[in-house]
């Protein structure tokens, strides 16, 4: 899988690149408008991460350019602009998702995976991890072909963990993924503990491996050992 990160802040681009590398995602970066256009002209990507404010141009113009060239890459806007207007303009110009800075890398990763799944619709819409099979469309989870009864939030959590396979997820990142903007207001993210506990119990009872590891003080990790 190959993605293009259009972002003038080199350190953010590098962090994304490093984070995605371990998931077998190949990242290229473009730190300005001209370079980005050049890359879009010459290569095809599975997904483009687009910052709106570039030193030599506007991210929206890149979206227009993609449309003119009939490119079908999925686009996720990553921006510090969080006004409703810029969101709407982004979606109108053909962006698929919008993530406001600051964001968690784990959140970006699962959103990108979801986007690519949607884009490659012809294949099945399943996420498979060893004996666990998640059907995204019907929202059903099976373990060894046996249906598992999970709440919507638990499926969401499971997808988030599997999507960030082998990575430590902070409680804050999980809370934000599960409750969106509301998580910003919370003093602590202890409620995550209860969700993890329930999910773990249901998976174990259904005969799945013990993949969820607790990282002391920090958060949790999905790990295939």
């Amino acid at each position: 899988m190959k993605i293009l990160i259009i972002e003038d802040e080199q350190e953010i681009a590098k962090s994304i690149k490093d984070y995605f590398k371990t998931n077998g995602i190949q990242c290229e970066t473009a730190e300005n408008y001209a370079l980005a256009l050049d890359k879009i002209d010459n290569y095809n990507y599975d997904c483009i991460l687009l910052d709106l404010m570039l030193p030599d141009g506007d991210g929206f113009d890149i979206l227009k350019e993609l449309k003119n060239k009939n490119k079908t890459e999925g686009v996720i806007i990553i921006s510090a602009k969080e006004t409703l207007d810029s969101r709407i303009e982004g979606f109108n110009l053909g962006a698929d998702d919008f993530l406001t800075k600051p964001f968690h890398l784990s959140e970006l990763l699962v959103r990108m995976q979801a986007l690519i799944r949607r884009k490659n619709f012809k294949g099945n819409n399943n996420v498979i991890f060893n004996e666990i099979n998640i059907d995204i469309l019907s929202k059903t989870v099976t373990i060894n072909n046996k249906k598992l009864d999970l709440t919507k939030k638990e499926i969401d959590l499971l997808l988030f963990l599997i999507g960030n396979n082998n990575k430590v997820l902070s409680k804050g990142a999980i809370a934000e993924h599960l409750s969106g903007d509301m998580a910003d207001m919370l003093d602590n993210h202890d409620f995550i503990y209860a969700h993890i506990k329930n999910l773990k119990k249901k998976l174990n009872t259904a005969g799945s491996g013990d993949y969820i590891k607790t990282i002391y003080g920090l958060g949790y990790k999905w790990e295939d050992d």
């Binding site: 953010i12 800075k101 919370l186 602590n188 209860a194 920090l218």
Partner: protein, 420 residues
């Protein structure tokens, strides 16, 4: 009660005209009266002159009784009652009309055959009452015609004259700084209005430009702060993936808390400045009950850590008009406030009554200085995780919508109530 400018000036006009007419009416009455009396005096004097010239030379004392018999208003009385010609007004009872009437009378001394007589001549004058009434009637008619005239002229001409003013007024009333619709004033030939329009245009232009630069500043500030925050966040996420010692983990964990606190603070400050800039003026009708129910699950989850019970007492369906994003922030903040400042195993009651939303919660009775409660960055518990902006935001939102928020500590419960 305020009156229109036009009506005020018209009223003054009318009052002035009425006073002038009344005074001139009075003066007119006295002048008329004076000339009338003068004419009457001249008339009776002529009578006397005629008598003295044509009758007196051949008049005998024996003729007096006969003369007096046939002349009612021109009689001769023996002896001198007066020594010279005297004019005066006297009231006589007139038999035939059965009422008292004023007469003008002249008494003059004469001699008939060497004996002194008084020649008395009198003439009926118009009664004062009649004169006053006639003059008053006349003036009343003049006043009414004059006032009607003034009213009509003022109405017609001023409507035309003041039209540019009302046009301008209407434009300004419809003007909102955040909507990109600059008023266009109709050009007028009246200097004052022209100046008014010019000054207003200048004022509006200046305000719009200040407003725009402020909004730009907010957006730029958001960008400038959020980019380093994003860097901070992504680096922590990267750092999390490394093999860490227990000590490093705990530092990273607290760093994680700090960055989310920083993020929260930044978001709240942005929200406050956006409210100040009027970014949330769009309003909808919101059914508060549904709004609260929608988030109840989330907050029930949050309340579990303190084992709080949340009770809703919806006595009615309350629909309000407000900005939905801000109303959401308002309710979330009230909820969080009730959870944050609660005690273990406490409770939260959310009550909806007619026009009133109330959050009641158990908590430490020790109390905050109430007037400082809603100030920015005022914290009751310095060690709490809150940034002291939650209540300030609540206050701001209620002010923006002209809702009333009240705090009370009642029956061992903290009570925040909002009247819509």
């Amino acid at each position: 009660m305020t009156k229109k400018l036009l009506q005020k000036t018209t009223n003054q006009f009318l009052l002035f005209s009425a006073i002038v007419l009344l005074i001139s009416g009075l003066i007119f009455y006295y002048i008329t009266n004076y000339f009338y009396i003068e004419e009457t005096d001249e008339f009776i004097e002529n009578h006397k002159k005629e008598f003295v010239k044509y009758q007196l030379p051949t008049f005998k004392i024996s003729d007096v009784s006969l003369w007096n018999k046939y002349n009612k208003n021109e009689i001769l009385i023996p002896s001198h009652r007066v020594t010279k010609d005297t004019y005066f007004t006297k009231i006589y009872y007139v038999q035939i009309e059965e009422e008292k009437q004023p007469f003008r009378e002249l008494n003059s001394p004469i001699f008939i055959e060497g004996k002194p007589y008084t020649y008395t001549v009198k003439i009926n004058i118009i009664k004062n009452k009649h004169l006053v009434r006639s003059i008053a009637k006349l003036f009343f008619i003049i006043i009414i015609i004059l006032m009607l005239g003034i009213l009509i002229i003022v109405k017609i001409s001023s409507k035309r004259l003041w039209k540019p003013f009302y046009d301008t007024l209407q434009q300004i009333q419809g003007f909102e700084l955040d909507k990109n619709k600059t008023p266009v004033f109709i050009s007028t030939k009246i200097d004052e209005f022209d100046q008014l329009n010019k000054s207003l245009s200048k004022l509006i232009e200046k305000n719009i430009s200040i407003y725009k630069s402020q909004r730009e500043f907010v957006e730029n500030a958001a960008h400038e702060l959020q980019t380093p925050l994003a860097l901070f966040q992504t680096k922590i996420d990267t750092l999390l993936q490394l093999e860490l010692s227990k000590e490093q983990s705990s530092i990273l964990s607290s760093l994680n808390n700090d960055v989310s606190r920083f993020n929260r603070l930044n978001k709240n400050l942005l929200l406050l400045s956006k409210i100040d800039n009027g970014n949330y003026l769009e309003k909808n009708i919101i059914i508060l009950n549904d709004f609260i129910n929608k988030h109840l699950d989330f907050f029930t989850e949050q309340a579990k850590a303190k084992n709080l019970s949340i009770v809703t007492e919806f006595n009615t369906e309350l629909s309000i008009t407000g900005n939905s994003s801000l109303t959401e922030v308002l309710i979330n903040n009230l909820f969080l406030n009730a959870i944050r400042h609660n005690v273990m195993n406490g409770k939260i009651i959310i009550r909806i009554e007619d026009n009133m939303l109330t959050f009641l919660n158990t908590g430490q009775p020790k109390l905050m200085v109430i007037d400082k409660l809603f100030n920015r960055f005022s914290k009751t518990n310095p060690s709490s995780q809150g940034n002291g902006l939650g209540l300030a935001i609540i206050k701001k939102i209620t002010e923006l919508n002209q809702w009333q928020i009240n705090y009370a500590f009642d029956n061992n419960l903290h009570v925040f109530s909002i009247k819509f």
